[in-house]
Amino acid sequence: MRTALMLLFLLALAAVPGSLLPQRPLSQTAVARYFAENPELAPFLDRLGLFDVFASPWFAAVYLLLFASLIGCLVPRTWGHIQSMRTEPPRAPSRLSRLPRHATVRTELGADEALDVAEEELRVARYRVVRKDGALSAERGLLKETGNIVFHLALLALLISLAIGKLWGYEGSVLVQEGQGFCNTFQQYDTYSAGPLIDGADLIPLCVDLDDFRARYEPNLTPSSFTGDITYSRAVGGPEQQTTIGINSPLRVDGARLYVTGRGFAPIFSVTLPDGTELTDLSAPFLPTDPSTMLSEGVLKLPDLGAGRDQLAVQGVFLPTAQDVGGGLLTSVDPRPLDPAVAIVVYAGSLGLDSGIPQNVFTLDQDRIERGQLERVGSGNLRPDESLELPDGTSITFTGFREFAAMQLHRDPGQGAVLISSLAMLGGLLATLLVRRRRMFVRPGDKVLEIGGLAQGGSVDPAEFEQIVVRIRTAVADAAGRQKENPAHV
């Protein structure tokens, strides 16, 4: 137990850096920021695995040691418990008056008859009773140890269920604009993670289209609900079904769940080239930087405007309800799209999308601007259907916006087992904390029954002891009464 205690402390201590330092699975950007702010310290901490504590080998070492010590403790304990369930309660002590609780019951019955009555009452009170050397020994509360063992076994089961989820589980996230969709393949996700024992072929077939997305607000602009109407099919070309998902109500299919985890706006632009070619319905999701006003930032990259033409990038902010704060500066004052506008800066040149280096879709590569590969060619604030004319005659029009939903698909085959293990833990815990193992002894004396009680780690609950004594007293008196009325039957 001393080892277990030490390992428990170690486990608690080991979890601390996981909440104080930024963690990769929670936020890659926070980790990157930490690296930028602490260029000396960060690589050292990284080598120790401190930016992904809960997947680090030393964290695993602590809990695996804890579980090893747990198994080492549990095996002999379970064996001992099975033995004690088979063993009868011990012989009654010679002087019951020395026990923590003690009472006497007067009776007219003979010793054997009185013991019969008392035995019956103890059995009704769910004690295991044996009669040894003319006295009763009764025991109850072995459930305490059973609960203890169940709790610890469930803890092991919980760990195994979590491991199953880690090995065979996967999740993918994707931003979906209204009118667009995705299928459950790794290629179509913006980001995904999968357990080591799963590959692309194991993914359940599911295709989802986002038909409509709505956000609702209270009068004080607290968001009250986000819901998306979706059409989905569980096989390519299979029958389509429609449903509505939202926060707190995911779609559940085949053990997978599809969630709405966030939302935002995607402004729509159209571009008219100097030769009159018009490209319409160009949009990119802009990420909200302030959830209370939904001021969002992003960039629309236009790499294919025709042979020999510069590539364009429209970088800027989207303001659902724009307000001029002076000097041509716009801000958003409401998360609802009541009076949308964009403030954009347009760059022309080479985006470098085919350089092989992965790019962030929400920002422009600042290096390319500094090196002159992208040149600023215009800027302006646009309301719907307003245009910005570039020096070369290209015109960029802000035509409107669509909402997008951040969707996440998650499948964890261990999840059900995790819940069952947790509930078994809780049940075991309640039994072990609330039940007490206690013993009662009854010995006949001269026209009395002596009753004594004791419990593990102290005395029996006085109310419970009193109740048993009263039951025995009443039953003995009743039996004596019957005997008087009808002595022949005894």
Binding site: A15, N248, L430
Partner: protein, 313 residues
Amino acid sequence: MSDAASLAGLSDTLFTLTILVYSVATLAFAAELAFSHRASAKALVAPDGSVVSDQGASSSSRIGQVAIAVALLGTALLGAVLLLRGLAAERIPLGNMFELATAVAFVGVVGFLFLALRTPRLRTVGLFVMLPVTLGLVLVGLFLYTESGPLVAALRSRWLVVHVTTVSIGFGAFLTSGIISVLFLVRSRFEEAGSAVRGMTSRIGQWLPNSETLDRAAHRMVVFGFPIFTFAVIAGAVWAESAWGRFWGWDPKETWAFIAWIVYAAYLHARATAGWRGGAAAWINVAGLVVMFFNLLYVNLVTSGLHSYAGIS
């Protein structure tokens, strides 16, 4: 003024009133201790140490009963604060830190009153429970106050009721337990050193019930709170599964709940381990309470995680 606004206003008034009533209860508990001190000084003591005549004791005991009654009144008022807030916003009044801290204080005092009514000796603990709770409520009113209002979308779930109610009950039980463990540590120092200790330890030590009573009371509160807290964590995981897409993700709040759970598990183990019973176990219990407070204050106010909407803005 709308009905909701007037209910919320009444709730705020009752909050102030609760602090006043709790202050009176605190003073009454202090008076009880002061009188019992004077009484024991005056009492006639026989050579074997038993008290022959103790006139002061009965008056101090009467003050103690008054203190309990006043604390009960204040607790009823605090309950009304939460009830009215709930009626004003038409939701469970556990949607922000102000409401959560109020609920924890409520449960903590209810826990103490339960112990004190069952074991009258524990009444002398009253000063040390009511004083921090009253000061805590003042700080909560000053720094965590939040207007009664609607909840953000993610909180609109039946699981909010289950999860946050059980968290508050568990936390409240841990609060009382932690305070009693601190008193246990003071009292055991007093018992070990006897008259050798002077100053605060000695003075407080002689007011307190014996260390075994304190140890049992602290343990009892953890035995009550721990399964409830365990259930709260499970309920939170079930809710997180439908709100955030995973049942556990090491969000800062989850991480600290895990740490707290481990520390309380360690406390229960320590109390059954030779060499750890008593002092060491009490320290672990106090550490558990520190972790709970850290989780409430630091994680909500300083870090940014998924639980951040439980903050004060």
